[in-house]
């Protein structure tokens, strides 16, 4: 493949997908490249916290202001990806209550609603919170599903003409006369190589961006900071719970979908290790001990997984030693900085500010291309949040099917749908009604913990670039429930095999189960250990996998 694009975006995280969407919306011919599946890096490995910005208010006013603005935007444009349940910042007896005063002041200064409530009121609103608390502040925290958010951006980019390649890794940049003219690619599934050319290449590869920059001979000093998190089996809390003190380890507890996440730790790790990180027993201990300070029930609540991600922290340019690390957005024009034209790096930032990062990067792209188009990503809702009347090529109502959800008619499982369809609506927003339903072969459940039907799997395969179990997991939550793939993995693999063939599906199944075990292993005790043993029994001893 050798095609001319206006812009190539490297990296299928929230930032890359957001940048591709922004570029496409401004009419640029865009190619998005991801070396595995979307959200494989830091985007898919965080709390899923819809930050109010309160956490940064005291130390980083700029980030705080960015957060609250983006928070409000995401509630509008990505309604189906967010849960608006507010958050608490609690003060425990060992914390300084004076900090609360400063905290509230700075929040208000940054435009973040911050209401002090009594400990009794806090306990009434959130019964899971540590009853020892002596102070509480309510802020507009929420939760956001990063998988859903990213895919919505990808879909919108495609809708506006962007091309998207997953499992394509950039092996080198095509450089001519001090100008990046494109990328050389390797298909990570087949090994095939190819190239793609564009006037501008945007490096949005997160922590791996430092390696991409190096290909252009540019040095971007990044400091990989590993953060580990634990997933509890059910919602312990219904509001986000934070500690009202200087940010520290394991002081955010976020409810999302049917689970609760505690995190994070923070440790510098060498860049060479970022592809093979594991959660250590020490990290699990810290998360559990500190987590129980937020909600005591965590000490005895089943943990279904542990996972970790790497924050792409960037050293500011005038301080290459890295002492002065910013969590702010960094957009580098390598033409002025390193004399390498046609190349931009967008990094730093947070999941919360992915849209703003995309806007900044796209503004720079447009400026370089001489395109005078305004950014509209803050006003235009993402697919899934758009009004029903809008028809898209990827969610055309299947009027050839007499079984559409709305015309289920005499189906005797109709009553059951109220629950399953509510769950699906949570995942797909107003696209949920395009999932085929109303007959036994479509309504059969693939994933019972998360209520994924055959119809939903097929919808994801057809419209959301799903061929493998890991992709299906991120789009639909298949395998994310308490059984971690025990019941669903085989069924899902069967549905996928209609597209990929049996052998490929088998290999995929094996990989998927190993990946599930990787997350269970650090917390393998009690029911989670029993679950892992049951999975092993089912797949190795019964299925002979």
């Amino acid at each position: 493949m050798s095609q001319e694009y206006d812009v190539i975006v490297i990296g299928g995280g929230a930032t890359g997908a957001g940048t591709a969407r922004d570029c496409a919306l401004r009419g640029l011919k865009t190619l998005l490249i991801e070396r595995y599946d979307f959200t494989n890096g830091a985007t898919g490995r965080n709390h899923g916290l819809l930050h109010s910005g309160a956490r940064y208010a005291v130390n980083d006013a700029e980030s705080a202001e960015e957060c609250i603005k983006e928070n409000m935007i995401l509630r509008k444009i990505a309604r189906h990806c967010v849960e608006e349940h507010d958050g608490l910042f609690i003060t425990l007896p060992e914390d300084d209550l004076e900090y609360q005063k400063t905290f509230v002041e700075r929040c208000q200064h940054a435009g973040i609603r911050a209401d002090i409530i009594t400990p009794e009121d806090a306990l009434r609103r959130e019964p899971a919170v540590n009853p020892r608390l002596i102070g509480a502040v309510v802020v507009p925290d929420g939760s956001v599903d990063p998988f859903r958010l990213t895919i919505a951006n990808v879909l919108d980019a495609r809708l506006h003409g962007a091309d998207v390649l997953t499992y394509h890794e950039v092996t080198s940049l095509i450089i001519n006369n001090g100008r990046v003219e494109g990328v050389n690619l390797r298909n990570n599934l087949t090994g095939e190589t190819s190239e793609a050319r564009a006037q501008i290449t945007v490096n949005a590869a997160g922590i791996w961006g430092t390696l991409i920059a190096k290909m252009a001979g540019a040095q971007v000093s990044m400091f990989p900071a590993k953060g580990s998190l634990l997933i509890f089996g059910h919602r312990v809390n219904n509001m986000v719970i934070n500690r009202c003190r200087k940010p520290a380890n394991a002081d955010i507890l976020v409810p999302g979908d049917a689970i609760t996440v505690i995190g994070t730790t923070s440790d510098r790790v060498p860049i060479e290790t970022v592809d093979n990180l594991r959660v250590t027993p020490e990290e699990v201990e810290v998360l559990l001990t500190e987590g129980a300070q937020l909600a005591p029930a965590l000490a005895s609540t089943r943990i279904i997984r542990a996972y970790c991600g790497v924050r792409p922290l960037v050293a500011s340019d005038d301080d290459p030693t890295g002492r002065n690390i910013s969590r702010g957005i960094v957009c580098l024009d390598h033409e002025t900085r390193d004399g390498m034209a046609g190349f931009i790096t967008i990094t730093g930032g947070k999941l919360m500010t992915y849209r703003l990062m995309a806007e900044i990067a796209t503004d720079m792209v447009c400026k370089k291309l001489g395109v005078n188009k305004r950014c509209t990503t803050a006003e235009n809702a993402l697919p899934g949040t758009q009004p029903d009347s809008v028809e898209h090529e990827y969610d055309v109502v299947k009027d050839h099917s007499p079984y559409g959800r709305r015309s289920a008619g005499e189906d005797n499982r109709d009553e059951n749908k109220t629950y399953v369809s509510h769950v699906q609506q949570g995942r797909f927003g107003n696209n949920a009604h395009n999932i085929e339903a109303g007959r036994p072969d479509k309504d059969a459940l693939v994933c019972e913990c998360e209520q994924v039907t055959v119809g939903e799997v097929e919808y994801a395969m057809e419209h959301q670039m799903v061929e493998r179990l890991i992709q299906l997991r991120r789009r639909t939550r298949t395998g994310m429930g308490t059984c971690q793939g025990q019941l669903c993995a085989l069924r899902a693999a069967c549905v996928l095999s209609h597209k990929t063939g049996v052998e490929a599906a088998k290999a995929d199944l094996r990989n998927f189960l190993n990946e599930r075990w990787k997350g269970m292993q650090p917390v393998a005790w009690g029911s989670t250990l029993s679950e892992a043993q049951l999975i092993q029994r089912v797949y190795r001893d019964v299925c002979g996998l």
Binding site: A258, N416, Y419, G481, Q486
Partner: protein, 415 residues
């Protein structure tokens, strides 16, 4: 590392092995019920997030037979997860039908006053059609007959004055069914206990245990009644009775297991002293403390049906222990299957067909034994089996009363 794992009703202990779905009588007879696993631990995770994930029409299909809980290898309270969700999230108050079916004691009190008329009326096809069309009680259903004299009345007239002669005393929670529909079982219980040398006292105040109220979402009333029962039992125990015996498996399970969890009634001190008479008698027999004199030439062929709630209690062993000691009794033990009635469930017109379908395996098994009678501890199973098969159904206590030479036994035990 965590050393303990706790979650509401053990929902996190669910490994999704799906054994509960294999034993669920409803799921195996209709597509309309997603099954105990989905309605219980699976959906509970989402219900914790938002009430809109509460699917009442599905949850209503649960019989609360609790066979899922018996099957669960990890102690997940599957049925209780379903029932607590209904209790806490249902937006619908009970209708007239639910109020009629659930208030077994009020309906019983009214009906016994005019028993012949009530029996005549409920037996009429016309009144069945009226009930079917108006409140939704199925017209194909046979109603239990009301007795002209309540058990309590009989007891005070004929038994109360004799109980003081016994050295040992037990209290008897008879339940609505014995009181209003079938006083003979209560009489048998008194005769058998007396024969073993035990006097039988009634509780100072006894209310319906509330199992039907709870099944029809009338928890406040159930809690009030439950509290009266537990207070009375506590008082009886303080007054010197050795134990509180019952003859109904569902009342017993409800008062022992569901009072604390579903109604929030603290009965730890009472629970261990509250049990079916068969348990008490089986233990007496095992300890060798009673002598038995059987009737000469007693001969009977029966089959034993393990009621769902009996299975949940795990107490069928006590009954079988007693039955096996009866000379001349031919005993077939039926495969464990639900009869489908589940208290008031099968009376509702939308459930009638499903109820009969669920019970059909059991009904066929019963007919195939060629026995003379079915033995079971559950009164609603009795209605259902008597309506759906050709056999009469008796409580093991009645069978014991029939097989024992009560006078000779009493003489042997009181010397």
């Amino acid at each position: 590392m965590q050393t303990e794992s706790k979650s509401p009703l053990e929902l996190e202990q669910c490994l999704k092995c799906s054994i509960c779905t294999a034993v669920c009588p409803v799921m195996n007879n209709t597509d309309a019920y997603p099954g105990p696993k989905q309605c219980g631990p699976d959906a509970e995770r989402y219900r914790m997030k938002d009430i809109r994930f509460f699917d009442e029409s599905a949850l209503k299909k649960c019989l609360n037979c609790k066979r899922c809980e018996v099957a669960c290898p990890h102690g997940v309270k599957v049925a209780e997860l379903i029932q607590t969700a209904r209790r806490d999230m249902s937006q619908h108050g009970p209708g007239l039908r639910e109020i009629m079916l659930a208030n077994t004691d009020i309906m019983g009190s009214l009906a016994t006053l005019v028993a012949p008329i009530a029996n005549f009326a409920t037996g009429l096809q016309l009144s069945k059609e009226v009930l079917h069309a108006t409140v939704g009680i199925d017209h194909r259903r046979t109603f239990p007959k009301y007795a002209g004299t309540k058990f309590e009345t009989w007891y005070h007239r004929h038994a109360a004055q004799n109980q003081g002669q016994f050295k040992h005393q037990v209290a008897y929670f008879h339940g609505c069914y014995v009181n209003f529909n079938y006083p003979k079982l209560g009489q048998d219980l008194v005769h058998v206990m007396n024969a073993f040398g035990y006097g039988v006292q009634l509780l100072e105040k006894e209310k319906c245990c509330g199992v039907a109220l709870m099944a029809n979402n009338m928890y406040n009333q159930a809690k009030k009644q439950g509290q009266v029962n537990i207070d009375s039992m506590r008082k009886a125990l303080q007054g010197g009775v050795e134990t509180i015996v019952t003859t109904s498996s569902s009342c017993t399970l409800n008062m022992r297991e569901d009072y604390p969890t579903m109604l929030g009634i603290d009965q730890k001190d009472v629970k261990e002293h509250l049990g079916l008479a068969v348990r008490f008698i089986s233990r007496l027999l095992d300890e060798g403390n009673v002598k038995l004199v059987w009737k000469e030439g007693f001969k009977k062929h029966v089959c034993y049906h393990t009621a769902c709630h009996m299975a949940r209690l795990g107490w069928n062993v006590y009954t079988l222990n007693i039955l096996r000691q009866i000379p001349g009794l031919e005993l077939d033990i039926l495969e464990q299957n639900c009869c489908g009635i589940s208290g008031t469930y099968g009376f509702k017109k939308e459930n009638y067909e499903l109820s009969q379908k669920i019970g059909s395996t059991l009904f066929n098994d019963i007919e195939a034994t060629n026995a003379e009678a079915v033995v079971t501890e559950c009164e609603t199973c009795k209605w259902q089996i008597e309506m759906s098969t050709s056999l009469p159904v008796i409580n093991p206590i009645s069978l014991l009363a029939e097989a024992l030479d009560l006078e000779a036994t009493q003489k042997a035990n009181i010397r």
